[in-house]
Amino acid sequence: MRYAAGLDIGSKSTKLVFLGQDQIAGYYVIPTGGNSSKAGEKILELGLSDRHLGQDDISFLVATGYGRHSVESAKKVSEISCQARGIRSLFPEAVVIIDIGGQDFKVIKLKKEGTILSFAMNEKCAAGTGRYLELMADIFDMNLNTFAKAGDTASDGVEISSVCTVFAETEVISHISRGAEEKEIISGIFTAVSKRVYSLAQRFIGDAKSVVFTGGVAMNMGVAKALERVTGCDIQIPAEPQISAALGAAMIAREQMPDPEKGD
C-alpha cells in the first residue's frame, strides 16, 4: 500500500496527513517553531516511523501553508486551494469557509461544484487570529484550553471595541481593573474576534445559512458560539479542524498518484 501525503506548515503548527485509497491512514500535529524546513522534516520522520513506513511508501507529497516553499521535494499548493479541497470532502455542501489560523484568517467562497469563487485574507495585523487569542490568554495566565472554556458562554460579554491586538490588550486590562467578571471579559474577546472576522466575511456569506469554521482556532468552542451569534449562521466544524488543509493537500497529492488499476 502506498500513500499520498499532505503537509501543512503553518505559522504556529505543522500538520501531516497520510491518505490511502479511501481514507485517512494517519495524521500528526507538531509545533512549527523557528524553522519551517526542520518542522517539515521532523513531522515526516515522526509519521513514517509511527506507521512503520519508508520514504518509498509515500508516492506523492503536496506541501502547503506558510512554510511550503521550504519543502523542496514537494509540489506546492496554496493553503486556500488545499483548505477548499479538504473542507469539501468533509462537507460536500459547503459554500463559505472561515479559516482562522495562527497569524491570519481567511474567508473562502466556493462555487456549487466546489471550486473557489473568491477569497479574502486579513491584512498584516494579528487582530482576530490565533496569536491574538494566545496573547489574551496570557493576560489571564491561562492555557488555551482553559481560556476557551472560560469564554464558552451564551453572552456577548463586555464590549471590546478595538481591532488592534495591542490596544485590545490595554482595553482588557482596564476591564479587569474595574472588576468586570472574568468570563464576561473573555466572552467579549471572543465576540471581538468574531466581529473582526465577520467584517471580512459578510460580503461572502450573503444569504448563506451555514458556514464551515476551520483552522486551529475552530477548536475553541467559545469563539465558535460567538461566531454563530455574530454571523447568524449555523457553524459547522470538522472533527479535526487543525488538519483540514493538510487533508486537502493529501487529496491533491492522491490525484497525482499513478492509477493502481493501470498497475504502474
Partner: protein
Amino acid sequence: MGKSAVHGLERLNDLYNRKESVAKEYRKQGKKIIGYLCYFAPPELISAAGMVPYRIMGRMDDEIIQAHNYVEPLGCPFIRNCFEQDLKGNLDFLDGRIIPHSCDTAQRLYGIWKYYKSASYNYCLNVPHKVTPWSRDFFKRELHFFKESLEKYGGVEITDEALRNAIRLYNENRAMVRELYDLRKEQPPRLSGSDMFKTLIVGMAIPPEEFNALLKEILAEVKNRPRGGEMLPRILFWGCIIDDARLFELIEESGSWIVSDDTCIGTKSYLRRIDTSHGLMEGLAKGYFEEFRCPRTDRGPDIHRFDYVLDLVREYDVQGVIGYTLSFCDPFKLDYPDMRDYLSENEIPMLLIDDDYSLSHLESIRTRVEAFIEILE
C-alpha cells in the same frame, strides 16, 4: 553614454539597478536634471528646454523615518517615501523639481518640500480634477505657464521646433513600447511583464533619445528569441503607482505571465501617441490630461468608464486581474469596488493587494497570488 559592452535586456538590468548614478553622469556632462513627480508634467517640455527629465521615484525597501518629522503618517506612503529619499540625500542630483497637483498629498508636499529643502527650481503644476472642454483649455494655459517658467529658469527659449522634436522622440519611445506590448499578445509571450516594467522604469530616468536606442536593442533581442515558453495564466495588472519590479517578479514566479496593465508606468502613458495635428500644446493637453485615465480625475460615476480595461483584457487575452492599492490613496481605493464588480460581471476574477508602499508582507502576498493563480488554472 559611450559604448557599452552589454546590450538589450542585460543593459536594461544594469540601468535599472543604477538609474540614479546614470542621472548623475548626465549632470557631470553639464546637463540640468529636472525631477518630476507623477505623469502630469510632460517631460517633452523639459527635454525641449535642453534639460534631462527624471521621474522621481521612491525606494520601497527603505523605511520612512526622517519624513515623519515633516509630514503626518496619514498620507500617501509613496509621496512620503519620495520626500524621504530627498531628505536622505538620495535625490541630490536633481537641479529642479516639478510637482503637479495630481492629488492633495502631492500638492501639499510641494509646499513642505520647497520650504524645508528647496531645489534651485521648484514648480507646482495646476491640474484640474474634472474633464470638461473648459478644464482642458485651462490645463493648456497651465502648460504655457510651465513652459515660460522653464524658459526663465534655463535661460533658453523653447521653440516650436525644439518642442516638436521632443514630442517626436517621445512618440518614437511610445511606438516601440507599443511594439513590445504587441509581442506580449503571443501565448506564451517572449517578454515577461517584469522585464517590460523595468524597461519603462528606466525609460523615465534617461533622455528619450537614449531610451530609443535601448528600446531598439530590446526589440531586436526579443524578436530573435525562439517561441515556446510555458503556457501560463495571463494577468493584467491594475492600480496605484508602483516603481519596483519585485511584485511583478513575485506574480510571475508564482506561475503566470503579466501581459498587460492599467498603470501609469505602463499602458496609461505609453499606448497612445501625442497627436500634434491640432497644435503642440493642444496635443500635450489631450494626451497628458484629457485622455490620461488616472482616477484622480473625475469622469463621472458611470461604470462604463472602465470599458477600456475590458478592451485591454480582451485584446491581451487576460484571465485575471491583479490590483494594487496604496494606503490612503482614495482615488484608486474608491474606484476598486466598481472595478471589481464590473470585471466580475464580465467573468474576470480580480485579486486586490493593499500595501503601504513597502511590500514588507511579501510572503503573505505570495499566498494570495498563488491561490489566485490556482483559481485561474
